[in-house]
Amino acid sequence: MTSPKLRGGLSAARWVGAVLVVLVLFVVLAAAERVYVYEVESDVEIAEDVPHVPGISWQFGEQLLVVWVPRDVAPGIILFTNKTAPIPLYDRKYFLLVIPADAQPSQRARAEALLKTPDGTYPVVFRKPDAGIIDITAHSIEEALTILKQIGLQPEYQGKAELRTDKKDPDAGGEAAALTLPRRPSINSTFDVYGGLYFRHTPITKTGLVIIPVHGNEWACRNVPHAAYVGYDAKSFALGTLIRGGAVDADLIVEVYKIEFGGNCTFLGSRRFVLANRTIYLVDLINSTTSVDRLAVFVMLDVRSFSGQPRVGVNASLIYARTYRYGFEVGEFVARAAGGFVVHREVRRIVIGPYVAYDGYVAQTASSSLTLTLATEPVNGVCKDLRVRFTINGRSSSGTYTYSGRHLGLCIYDVYLPYIWEQSFQTEYFYAKAFGGGLSWVLDIEYTDGSTPYIVAMFLKNADAFRYWRWAEQWKTTPGAIDAVWAKPFLSSAFELYATPTEPIPPPGIYHGVVTVRADSVGQMFRARLSISGRYTYPGLDRVVYMKKAEVDMAMPLSVWRLYAVGYYLDDLLSSVAPHGWVREAFDVKRVVDCILMLAGVVGRVSGLLGFATGEGLKSVGDSVMVQTLDYYTARIIYRRGWYTNVASDTIMVPLMIPSLYGRDTPTELEITRICLDNICTNPSLKAYVQPDRGYGGIIQAILKNWMCRGQVIDTATCEILMR
């Protein structure tokens, strides 16, 4: 029954409007395609090659949509917040598969696998996605159905299904097949290099076209503002989306341009996708064929409607082909974890990370020596065998292993990862770049009978969680910005550490440190630059303590004689680490007074307590950076925070002047043999390379990244024309 008020309140025009809305809704619902959603167990891991059913035809061509949902969610400890939380575990063999309800597969198609569903069996082949969407990630089946509705589908959950191939399952005993020993890049080899492009998180405040600008202020094209530089030899390009704060009904439009001489761009083509949250899209316009020219991409949204205050984040994952020609274009990345944790609870998952996924990962070079000791409560007085499944980012498996415990009051398990599965690492690195994420180990732990262990404590051995070679002409210049694409190239290696602090002991906190070694181009006074960061964080207390001391031992096959270091804080002004104000004046006065006191035996190297207390006391008032020569080949760079320092910075930059580097004809290997951040020491053996002064076109390399001329920097004339 309609209320008099409503009946009276609706004018004829409003009636027409209401009818129109109903009609539009009807049309939309009628247009929404009915799809079946199956919960699939597969015997093969799904990554970039996604399932297609030959012969079917719908808005995604022959492609089936893959939607990742967690296999299960279990209590776990995130070491680096030192907190327990429900941790979802995805599995590349478990997903939802979306197929049109009226799918009519070709009966003569040659299948690589069979999809067995309650509604019939479908032949399946695997290839790059027809319609661009590689996959979608959801937190649950319910959320998956919601996302599918948002992209205009009418999903119906149809139950479980199986995807069966005749491929061998590497996780069930075929581990040797998945093992590729990490290798160091060799000169003149060509390899795949993984990297990312970054776009600004963009708030959606209007309908129509909305530009997603590239991060930073450098545009790849003079005539296309906000376009991102892709460059030469890109083999694969995928975009990942993250929508937060609301919902958006829009299309994602990617335009690809060729960069012409002089910097203007010409349009090559575009792709239009339905925008969905946590979805990864393959942009097939960027491939080995098109990127014989330098390419750029421009990303925008065509927004139909939105609700809430949505912000759209877009990042790109790229695979490049690069040739290693000179012996200095690569560096290393080392991620480590160390320290002990008191747990005292039933835990099914351990998350070690996230580490930064530094750009430039060279395929087939990842390794790990992750080792930890677990102490659990015995069950009925015995130590049951423990099964540990190692996954990268909680998605791709790197093997499942069983460990026996030693009964020492508690059950002690020495858990170590024999080797990393390279393919899993590549897949997860690719996804990490697409979503602007990092790299973590997620360990799934259970007794072999399926029960959950009560973990008392765990200790992480000071070993590599991740290590890989990276194409070192990196994308990022500073943490907050993206490199100007062709300006001031440099090479860098990076070390990242998570550890538990031993001092101060309470309350529980976590130490996070980063050291980078950056080799600067020819002609610079400081050819090597260190950046050193470290901080204790106490998540529960919202408290941060900045690094107080750092030592970095650097070895090289040359003399470290007269190696000179200066220090700068990485704050707004990049201010110098040097005595200032009255402290500097005091040093000047001290020089005069000491001349007198030296005769009296008050000051000197072993002169006594009075000279020591006042002299060293003054020296340690402010921050200092100094160099100590350990032997002919090794120098120690020391940073000390003073006892009267109020600089709110956890990072210092230390340019190094190394006289023996000048005039070299061959690349020089710098090796960071030891790093102590505060009182946590590690021996990472981190390698970085400095370009020689001669013999490879160093003048061009000083202004251009090596790969921007495809490594052909000797052909200087061509390169100069190209980059003008």
Binding site: K548, A600, S607, G615, G617, W643
Partner: protein, 174 residues
Amino acid sequence: MRDQTVFFLLLVVVFSLLWFVWPWSWLVGVFIAGLVFLWSLFFASCVGLGRGFVVVFGLVAAPLALAPVVEPLFLWYAVAPLAVFVVLVYAAYRAYDSLLWGFLFVVGSLWLHVIILAAVDLLTGGLLLQAFDMGFDVYVRWNVPLIAFMDVSSLYISCRVVKLIFAYVKRRRG
């Protein structure tokens, strides 16, 4: 007198042990001031310590602690050793009634203790030099108590030896 010296010797050593737990903050200035104050009293007690000297040494050491509050006082870190030296010479002058003897007593004691420290360093394979080179370190704390102990104990010996020498010379002179 000797009991007083031993008392201050122990006080310096015990105070230096606090360095193991001393916070790395502006309070380090207080620690340095305390160390300088107690060391000065210890050395002065070798020749006789009056109440006035306690006040004077307190005044000499106090700016070291106050420097973080009044920054120009950081200059005092450069000047304080000279000031302590002058007051010690004055204390010795009072004891020996001669400025030259007072000066020689202080310088002689200091140099002899430096020689003892050098000998200890040689015997311990450079341990003392390592401790001195380490300076004030936020994490490595053992060196300060070691230096304090070695310094005051060697200074105690040197002070006694110089006093005996001075007594012997005075006796010879009649």
